[in-house]
């Protein structure tokens, strides 16, 4: 009677609210300082320094902490001690690891949402800075896109795999969408022909 519930005692039930706050906090602060720094009469250099610090801390936090805790993924650089060859390693928690420490859906959404939206935001801000010829602002946006985009790239590689796998994944996704649209918009031809 108790055997069915035996395994569930080891399942980690509580979430990681602190980790989610850390994940969102630094990236959003960097964007906030960039967009609204002028209102607090911050000089460009002061805001640049603070944005840089936020981006660096956020990069480290997302890479080393929030990925592991929220979605069970990790990516890193590995240097062979003997040959000095460097390679990139993409790791994920095992199946049973995920049973013991399941990914909470809210945390999943928060993680991937912030991971995808922030580089997108920096890219848009960067384009607007470029087209208004504000070159120092463009450099800041480029740094923001670089820092945030690097984590996005690393975790996509963790989740989906190499370039071929990403292509296949994208094709499958588009294929499914086109199929569902085709099915839903197909006229009632069989009924007419009958």
């Amino acid at each position: 009677m108790n055997n069915l519930e035996f395994g569930s005692e080891n399942v980690e039930k509580k979430g990681h609210p602190g980790v989610v706050v850390a994940h969102l906090g630094f990236r959003v602060s960097a964007l906030f300082i960039y967009m609204f720094g002028g209102i607090f009469s911050m000089s460009f250099v002061t805001s640049f320094v603070f944005i840089l610090l936020c981006l660096a801390i956020d990069f480290w936090t997302v890479k080393n902490v929030t990925g592991r805790f929220l979605v069970g993924l990790r990516w890193r650089n590995n240097i062979e001690p003997t040959t000095g060859q460097s390679s990139w390693v993409y790791e994920s928690r095992s199946e049973e690891g995920f049973k013991r420490k399941p990914v909470k859906p809210n945390e999943f959404r928060a993680f991937w949402g912030a991971l995808i939206l922030c580089p997108l935001m920096w890219a848009l801000l960067g384009l607007s800075a470029l087209f208004t010829l504000k070159f120092p602002s463009f450099i800041v946006c480029l740094s923001g896109f670089g820092f945030n985009g690097a984590n996005l790239y690393g975790y996509i590689r963790c989740k989906i795999g190499g370039f071929d796998a990403v292509k296949n994944y994208a094709n499958n996704l588009i294929g499914k969408q086109m199929l569902s649209r085709f099915m839903s918009s197909a006229p009632a031809a069989p009924a007419q022909s009958a």
Binding site: V19, F44, V45, F48, V49, L52, L53, A56, W60, N64, V65, R68, F69, R74, N77, I79, P81, G84, S86, V89, Y90, E91, S92, R93, S94, E95, E96, G97, F98, K101, V103, P105, F108, P136, I139, R157, C158, K159, I160, G161, G162, D164, A165, N168, Y169
Partner: protein, 210 residues
């Protein structure tokens, strides 16, 4: 909830393709290590690297090269940029920032194109950390300029000597770590841009005038 389940099952579909290693599954102890341990480990590594740059030993080279990180370079770049920004006639923070990182990137690229066996980030890590003696010289110069007045020649001579020593120290430390990784017949070609990079930074230190 449904889309979350389907993506977690897609691991099983993709792992069948063995044309390239996709990802590894890992349940190491340090995968789930507490945050505090991660932070302390990285802080200790940064501290060790600074120590090994100031007292370069052969054994320390493994630490800088194998476990590279860019915290040291970022910190030093920001300290120097902030100090030089305040000086009159010196570079702005943004200018120094771009000079530092583009300079490191160019020196690294040069090393790699000459057939060096070091990776991009390792080289930027070493170049950044080896600036530490020059940062010390800059702080010394700032103290000298603030605390003493007059005796221009003496102050300049003091700053010049200290900066020269720091320049030699930085260059030697960087050569210690990177020099071996360049092919032996092109060592001069690999070392020259690096020394030039430190020379430019030393020049900025000497011309800093509070």
């Amino acid at each position: 909830m449904a889309e979350f389940e389907s993506t977690s099952y897609s691991f099983g579909d993709l792992s069948g393709e063995m044309d390239q290693p996709i990802m590894t599954v890992c349940d190491d102890d340090d995968f789930d290590e507490p945050v505090r341990e991660t932070i302390m480990r990285d802080l200790r590594d940064v501290g060790h690297k600074f120590k090994h740059v100031v007292f370069p030993l052969k054994e320390g080279s493994n630490l800088l090269l194998r476990d590279w990180d860019l915290w040291g370079p970022l910190l030093l770049c920001m300290v120097v940029g902030a100090i030089l920004h305040e000086g009159q006639g010196g570079p702005h923070f943004t200018q120094f920032f771009v000079l530092f990182w583009m300079g490191s990137a160019v020196v690294t690229l040069n090393n790699k194109l000459l057939g060096g066996t070091i990776s991009f980030f390792q080289s930027v890590c070493v170049l950044g950390y080896c600036i530490a003696p020059l940062v010390g010289a800059l702080l010394f110069c700032r103290i000298v300029l603030i605390s003493t007045q007059g005796a221009f020649l003496l102050r300049f001579a003091l700053r010049f000597v200290v900066t020269l020593v720091a320049f030699g120290w930085s260059s030697r430390a960087a050569m210690c770590f990177i020099g071996d990784t360049a092919p032996s017949d092109r060592r001069f070609l690999a070392v020259y841009p690096m020394v030039l990079f430190y020379f430019i930074i030393s020049w900025l230190v000497i011309t800093y005038s509070g």
